[in-house]
């Protein structure tokens, strides 16, 4: 019993990379197109919100990107109502992505820098998204920013997560198989499925790892040559391999660059930065702990300038404490 599967692809705050990844499956895409009817994809064609509202009984709603404006929020809610399976596609939809780093400031502060105070900006009327402004006698408004950036599952229930920035071919292939199985045999995917590897990046990393990793001092990528065969952490370079899911075939590692963690954490991690603080801090000077004073050890650890931005680069909105707080000063 073959049936045409209805698919809607909606984007929130995204860079467009995931849209490209969806289309980037060569001939396999034809199998999917033959079985499906793409009813909404506003990155590709001129669709408006009303077009999504008109739709009923969408089988797969794919959401790309995080929730950053009120329009994204609205679209996510409409999509949830209209579709059977909602898919958070890519790191931004699953964890908030790089846009999430904006949560270190209030939305007004962000807009002020972006639209008013940057030296290259000339904006005498101080037009910012959310405020009405007049052009040639017509009132225009851009969508307001939501108070904070959020991943999709903080707003609506999500059925399937596809991790990756963007998800690699294998993951998308697996996802397409789900769609084809649903179209051809009516096999419904299990709700709550995460399409990504189950292991961490270190597990598939081809580099040679010493018995005991010990960091004498932290080094940045541009400071001297990097040994392409030795574990990066053992060389003092911060590599997020231990808390990143192995769904990327270690592409950066093979190119002699440390992992930045774009594929998101493995399951059961509550707060990625806290988890990595635990990992990286305990590696510092393991062999000489007792020879150094407490202050000396703390000094080495504090060489890490920006723990939030480095460890939570792609996942800040999904952490335990996921926005800037207002607390009494020291």
């Amino acid at each position: 019993m073959k049936k045409q599967v209805k698919i809607a692809i909606v984007a929130g705050a995204s860079c467009g990379g995931c849209d490209v990844a969806i289309a980037n499956l060569h001939e396999r895409l034809l199998d999917v197109v033959a079985r499906s009817d793409i009813v909404f994809w506003h990155t590709i064609a001129d669709f408006k919100k009303e077009d999504l509202e008109k739709q009923r009984n969408i089988d797969f709603g794919i959401f790309i990107g995080s929730i950053r404006t009120e329009e994204h929020l609205e679209l996510a809610k409409i999509l949830r109502e209209r579709c059977n399976f909602l898919i958070a596609f890519g790191t931004c939809a699953c964890f908030g992505g790089m846009f999430g780093l904006g949560n270190v400031a209030e939305r007004y502060e962000l807009l002020k820098v972006g639209y008013i105070t940057t030296p290259s900006t000339e904006n005498p009327r101080e037009v910012i998204p959310g405020n009405k402004f007049e052009v040639n006698g017509v009132d225009l408004t851009l969508p307001r920013l939501t108070e904070w950036c959020m991943p999709l599952n903080k707003v609506v229930n999500v059925d399937i997560f596809v991790q990756g920035c963007p998800p690699i071919e294998e993951a998308i292939d697996k996802f397409y198989e789900t769609i084809i199985a649903y179209a051809d045999n009516g096999v419904a995917p299990e709700r709550g499925t995460v399409i990504a590897g189950g292991k961490t990046l270190c597990d598939i990393c081809p580099r040679e790892k010493p018995e005991k990793i010990t960091i004498k001092r932290f080094r940045r990528v541009h400071e001297g040559p990097i040994d392409p065969n030795k574990c990066l952490l053992a060389q003092g370079i911060i590599c997020l391999g231990p808390i990143t899911i192995a769904a990327c075939n270690a592409a950066c590692i093979r190119a002699n660059m440390p992992c930045r963690g774009c594929f998101g954490p493995p399951p059961d991690v509550l707060d990625r930065a806290a988890k990595f603080i635990s990992t990286i801090a305990s590696l510092v000077e393991i062999e000489n702990e007792k020879l150094l004073s407490d202050e000396e050890l703390i000094k080495i650890v504090e060489e890490i300038e920006d723990p939030l931005g480095t460890f939570h680069r792609f996942t800040f909105p999904s952490g335990l404490i996921n926005k800037k707080q207002e607390d009494a000063e020291e």
Binding site: A273, A274, V284
Partner: protein, 142 residues
């Protein structure tokens, strides 16, 4: 005026992760020696201060604690598991930086080395920390 009053009435909640061998034994000693200290503290026994995942501390803060106390064995040689206290020390240093970036006063998390014989130090630390948090006011997360 009202804000001041609120601060005076405020009783902070402190979650304390105490290592089984030193700090918890120190707390026990404070108890059997009948030393007085404020009742604001909720002690949790952990096998070693090296077992305390920074996630625990964030969870405690998120779930209503105004402060977190970590108690471990003195460096360099007291740790029952040889180097657990060093792990705690290094994690704590980095966590402080992270908390600062989150906009949370890092002094809400306090690390103290308390040995099994230092019941007096334990009661002193709890007293001081409670006073400090009273002055600082409650942690209001948003």
């Amino acid at each position: 005026m009202e804000a001041v009053k609120e601060k005076e009435d405020f009783e902070p909640r402190i979650t304390a992760f105490l290592c089984r061998w030193c700090a918890y034994a120190g707390a026990d000693l404070a108890g059997v020696s009948r030393l007085e200290y404020p009742p604001n503290i909720i002690p949790i026994m952990v096998p070693c201060s090296g077992r305390i995942d920074p996630q625990f501390i964030l969870l405690a803060l998120k779930n209503g604690s105004d402060g977190v106390l970590i108690g471990g064995c003195h460096t360099p040689n007291d740790c029952h598991y040889i180097s657990g206290n060093f792990k705690a020390l290094k994690r704590f240093a980095l966590l402080r930086k992270y908390l600062k970036q989150l906009g949370i006063n890092p002094n809400r998390v306090r690390l103290e080395w308390i040995s099994a014989t230092e019941g007096k130090k334990f009661s002193q630390v709890v007293k001081e920390f409670t006073e400090f948090l009273k002055k600082l006011g409650p942690l209001k997360l948003r």
